[in-house]
Every structure is written in structure tokens, then in C-alpha cells.
């Protein structure tokens, strides 16, 4: 129960830090999408209810604070969570190269989905902008994902230890 009470505050803080402090790492040119890495981690490590709520809430908050269509990130994050959840029993999700490659592909998938929505709904070709943004973002996310996975793993252990007490 405590998980569901703390979750909204945790995700708000994560989203705000992602948009402010983490954005400074590369001078505002390349974002570090820690929220998506968290959703992928949730797909590999959490059960469907906890992870699903986390993915939904994170995507929803990102939709609220960004200037995009409401529901875009919510749907994308839920989709990526479900994909990760379905893959998790079939592969060994602790291998560093796998985590890097999978995260890279998920960020590109997110960009592709945004392109598809803008193309089909508004008839706008956003491919140039997305390539400029999402390709470097995917590379950065891929490279950083093993370290962030390790961080979330420690956090999960700490939370579970607290619950056990």
C-alpha cells in the first residue's frame, strides 16, 4: 500500500529532475530519459500491477508537463512496459549489452510512435526533428541504462528491506 502512496511523489520528482537537472548534463541538447529506463526496469523486475501503475503514472505525468498530445507518453510507456514484461521470462535481463541494446531500441520505438501519431493525425513530418533528438537520446539512454538499472535495483532492495521490517 505504501508503494502506491509514495509512487506519485516519486514520479513527480523524477519527471521534474529529468526536465531540469538531467537536461543540463548535455547542455539542453540531449535529454536523459530516466523515466523510460525506469519503465523498462519495471517491466523486467516488477509484477504487472505495480509496474503497470508505475508506467501509466510516469507517462501520464510526462504528458501533463510536456507540450505534447495528452496520452501520447502514457500509451507509449504502457506499451513499452508490457513489451518488457512479456520479454522478461524469455531472456536474461541482467546482461549489460542486452540492457543497453534494448533500451536503445525502446527509445527509438518511442520516437517512431510519436512520428506515426503526428504523421497520421496532423499530416506533419517530424522525422528530421525526431532523428536529431531521439537518435542521440537513444544512444545516451542505452549507454547509461546499466548504471541506472543498478541504481533502481539498489532502491528496490532498500524498499523491500524496509517493507520486511
Amino acid at each position: 500500500m505504501a508503494y502506491y502512496i509514495v509512487l506519485p511523489f516519486f514520479t513527480i520528482l523524477l519527471v521534474v529532475l529529468q526536465r531540469t537537472l538531467l537536461d543540463l548534463l548535455f547542455g539542453g541538447r540531449i535529454g536523459v530519459e530516466v523515466s523510460l529506463i525506469l519503465v523498462i526496469y519495471a517491466g523486467f523486475h516488477l509484477d504487472v500491477v505495480r509496474g503497470g501503475v508505475l508506467a501509466f503514472l510516469t507517462g501520464f505525468l510526462l504528458d501533463c508537463v510536456s507540450g505534447t498530445i495528452m496520452g501520447l507518453y502514457t500509451f507509449t510507456y504502457v506499451l513499452i512496459f508490457i513489451l518488457s514484461y512479456l520479454l522478461s521470462p524469455r531472456i536474461y535481463g541482467e546482461r549489460m549489452l542486452f540492457i543497453m541494446g534494448y533500451t536503445f531500441l525502446c527509445v527509438l520505438l518511442e520516437g517512431l510512435f510519436i512520428f506515426a501519431v503526428y504523421w497520421s493525425v496532423y499530416g506533419t513530418d517530424v522525422s528530421q526533428g525526431l532523428l536529431r533528438t531521439y537518435l542521440p537520446q537513444a544512444l545516451v539512454a542505452g549507454v547509461l541504462s546499466p548504471a541506472i538499472f543498478a541504481l533502481f535495483n539498489r532502491l528496490e532492495v532498500y524498499v523491500h528491506a524496509g517493507e520486511a521490517r
Partner: protein
């Protein structure tokens, strides 16, 4: 038993269905945010502002003291004095610059025929492909969805979402921004569309129109979103090499969005 066996499928189905409903509702009825979204604005905007101002202070202090690090052993007292005086000078300089900017905003405010609401930019999108900024005025200050936003240099964008104390502005550089415009010299009309950066495209200008680089592009007043005559940008390229009915025109925005700190919201809608 059934629930336990198919829990994952049921949860996945519910989450996808709810997110698709939110997405489709947003596409069908864009604009006014719900109460939940307004509450999220109210919670996240002050946190974002606090973090941004903290980062700005640290960055300023770091730049201010960096030069002194190597000389600290030999000239500690003098360096401390210089640092303190530099801090004062920077403070006064910043106040002077702010005063100059506010004077320009005030002059702009005086020159418009519409009532205005002055606001500070408290958050921006940074690296996101969606070009929006957050300002510190909302519905309680008279800021509503659809109102145009300007700066002394020109058009910044329009209000797309507004909570009680904060509002989100869609910049003219965003892909979703489409503004009825006209080229000031030739009076050629077109739609100025954002491209994710300061270089915009002026679409649907017929090949028979003579448009030259260097001409100003202003709002046409058509469509009702923006009053006529507001500065949008300058033509940097106009050519007819590509086949089709229309020529290719690129426009650079008048406003440098990386440096924008204060804006004016024009209250063009009558109460």
C-alpha cells in the same frame, strides 16, 4: 481463480484501453486541460522553478570563482575582496539588465491596443522535441487558452494550457504551430509552420509571388488567433526549384527562444 490466472492480461488490457481513451479524447478535444492536469502544473511548476533558479545560482557562482581557484594560495585576501565586489557588480549588472528588459516589455505593453498580462518564463522544454515554455501566470490572472504571447522581438507563441497560476505556451517553433502570415513586402500570404527549431517554413505561397530573402514576415490577422501586424521573423531563403504549386520559403524567427525571460500575453478575447 480466473482473475489470478489472467491477471496480467486483464491489467495490460485495462492500462492500454485507458491510455488509448486519454489519447483519443485529447485528439478529439484538444485545448482545455482537466483538473488533474491543472493540479500537476501547480505542483511541478514551483519545483521546476526552484531547481532552475538554484542551478542558475550555482552556475553563476562557479563561473565567478573559477578564475580564482589557481591563485588562492598566493592572494587569498585580495581574491576574497575581488570575489565579494564581483558578486555585488554582477548583482547590479543583472538588476540593470533586468531593468532594461522590463523597460522594453513596458514599452511594448504601452504600444499594444489590447490589455496585457506580463509574465516570467519559469520552465522550458530543453531537449524535448516539443517546443513549449511555462510562464508564471494562469487563469486567475486572466490568461486563457488560445491567447497570443509576444515579446519585444516578436511573436513567441500562444497559450495552449492554463492552470490557476501557471500556463503553457506553444512556441512558434513547435511542429503543431501553424500561423496565418504574410510577407510584409510582397503581401504574399501563407501558413508559417514550426519545424522544431528557429528555422520555420512558410507554406502555400504560390510560385507567382515574388518573395525575397530579408523580407519581414508578420501575422496576417486571419484565423483570429493573432492580431495583424505582429513580427514573426525574416525570410532567409525563397526558391522555386522544387516542383509543385508552391515555392519553398524558410523563415528565421525574430525571437531567440533560448534567451527569453519575460513575455506579454495579449488579452485579445473579450470577457
Amino acid at each position: 481463480m480466473f482473475l489470478k490466472k489472467y491477471l496480467a492480461v486483464i491489467v495490460a488490457f485495462i492500462l492500454i484501453a485507458v491510455s488509448l481513451v486519454i489519447l483519443s479524447q485529447s485528439l478529439r478535444r484538444p485545448g482545455s486541460p482537466g483538473v488533474v492536469k491543472k493540479l500537476v502544473f501547480e505542483v511541478t511548476a514551483p519545483v521546476e522553478r526552484a531547481i532552475n533558479s538554484g542551478v542558475g545560482s550555482v552556475s553563476g557562482a562557479w563561473k565567478q570563482y573559477l578564475f580564482l581557484v589557481g591563485l588562492e594560495e598566493e592572494n587569498r585576501e585580495l581574491r576574497n575582496k575581488i570575489a565579494a565586489l564581483q558578486g555585488e557588480v554582477n548583482t547590479y549588472r543583472e538588476m540593470s539588465l533586468e531593468g532594461s528588459r522590463l523597460k522594453r516589455v513596458l514599452a511594448l505593453e504601452d504600444s499594444t491596443i489590447y490589455p496585457t498580462v506580463a509574465a516570467r518564463v519559469v520552465g522550458n522544454e530543453g531537449s524535448s522535441p516539443f517546443r513549449t515554455i511555462m510562464i508564471n501566470k494562469g487563469s486567475t490572472d486572466g490568461v486563457k487558452e488560445g491567447l497570443p504571447v509576444i515579446s519585444p522581438e516578436g511573436v513567441v507563441g500562444r497559450v495552449i494550457e492554463s492552470s490557476w497560476n501557471y500556463s503553457k505556451i506553444l512556441l512558434v517553433t513547435d511542429y503543431n504551430s501553424n500561423i496565418d502570415s504574410l510577407v510584409q513586402g510582397s503581401r504574399a500570404q501563407g501558413i508559417l509552420q514550426g519545424g522544431g527549431h528557429r528555422l520555420l517554413r512558410l507554406k502555400y505561397v504560390q510560385r507567382t509571388e515574388e518573395v525575397k530573402a530579408g523580407e519581414a514576415v508578420i501575422t496576417s490577422g486571419l484565423g483570429g488567433a493573432f492580431p495583424k501586424g505582429l513580427m514573426l521573423g525574416t525570410v532567409v531563403r525563397a526558391d522555386k526549384k522544387e516542383p509543385g504549386l508552391f515555392q519553398t520559403i524558410e523563415v528565421v524567427t525574430a525571437v531567440d527562444f533560448s534567451k527569453i525571460e519575460e513575455v506579454l500575453v495579449l488579452q485579445t478575447e473579450k470577457e
